[in-house]
Amino acid sequence: MTDTFMGFRRKNGTVGVRNQIAIIPSVFCSAKVAERIAYQVPGSVYFRHPVGCSQVGEDLEVTAKTLIAIGKNPNFAGVVVVGLGCERFSPYELAEGIAPANKMLETVVIQSEGDSLAAIQKGSKIAREMQQIASRQVREEFPVSELMIGLNCGGSDMTSGLIANPALGIASDKLVSQGGSSILSEITELIGTEDILARRAINEEVAENIRETIYRTEEKLRRQTQNSSNKDRTHLISTGNYAGGLSSVVEKSLGSMKKSGSAPFSGVIQYGHQPDQKGLFLLDSPGHDGEVSTGEAAAGAQIILFPTGRGTPTGFPGVPVIKITGNPKTYTKMRENIDINAGQVLTGDKSLEQMGHEIYQEILEVASGKHVKAEVLGHDEQFCVTRLP
């Protein structure tokens, strides 16, 4: 008997845990129009970003792939693409990219409509209609193998590596063992763990890919810090990390890695790409909270799991972010932002195993419709498309 959850069936065979309308600008110039459309239709979500024009090469390509992939994420019942009309990443290309997902999809272009007010009006009518159609869809039961979770963390302290991350690892293992998917990322915070992670690869090719991905990130950081005019900007480990008791990047990485439990790695995926099978994957992204969540949502993750020792309130549009803290003091202070108090392990009230099980149960509840605190409070800061130098 595998565990199940109640989700929304999509025509392309994927399953959403939310049923919202996404308003996606193809370029930063149409961001406000997209935002205003979403304001007219509460329940829809918009994706503000600073990209889509004046970019070239792989940097533009990653932007294009990511925006398309966000539109295809199964949590969205429909998408309204909002373009300006002269941008380098055309709104029509964005819509064409999303089209194979076979969901409700319309494009509004400001320069074609006349002005921003006309575009807001047209987009709002479209979104209103989509939302009414989506509102008639009911949840159905699916096996947890249809779930993909993104693993991320931010505002870490020593309780993250000690408690919250290992507890999340137990939950992740439980999902993966039942055929579900999980994504580990934050490559900058995995430096030093390459051989440990590579040992968990399903074959030598994946092992080599894991090592290469981490070495490449380390080399890129070395180049970036070489010409820094401020000597204090060269350390990858932050002042707060040192104050919290972390003495090296490797120590931080070992704690970060614990989020992925002990399941085997099925592969490495590039930013803006989706895995072609189920299982545990490594996503190539720097360890920026927003860029990681965005890459994971683009990979198809319907839920993000987010341990935070020091506490952060951030969320993601249309993709629930479950906050976990291993620090009981942080939970007490940030009760309105944190969903799970894994600090109960530190106080001796629960075992790590019990905590892992509790996180897993919360994943199923959230997948079935329970709103996380970040969703209820409207936090959506984590949408940030990664940039290439």
């Binding site: 008791g245 003495s247 090296s248 070992l254 614990k258």
Partner: protein, 99 residues
């Protein structure tokens, strides 16, 4: 929070092969603290103050010897230290991600 008293002088040894423990609360120089292993408890006397979340040596560790936490090397010692000493970036080093 019945366990607070028990936590006050404890440090956790995460992996059996580790040579450091993580302080579960602020520890004071001269105090005796409980070292919590997965399967047993031992004791150590603190040679220095150690803040919550920071590390102490649970054996004598020689200069250039590996510092082991999570069963893995997180750096090497710059100097030799005795059991009960505070271990942080003032006396251990790790080249990765630093330049």
């Amino acid at each position: 929070m019945e366990n607070t008293i028990n936590l006050q002088k404890a440090a956790l040894v995460i992996d059996p092969s580790d040579n450091v423990a993580v302080a579960l609360t602020d520890l004071k120089k001269g105090e005796e603290c409980i070292l919590r292993f997965n399967d047993r408890e031992e004791k150590a006397v603190l040679l220095e103050d150690i803040t919550f979340g920071h590390k102490l040596a649970i054996f004598d560790i020689e200069k250039d010897e590996s510092v082991l936490k999570y069963g893995e090397e997180i750096g090497k010692m710059m100097v030799s230290v005795q059991k009960g000493s505070y271990i942080h970036n003032h006396n251990m080093y790790c080249e990765r991600g630093m330049k």
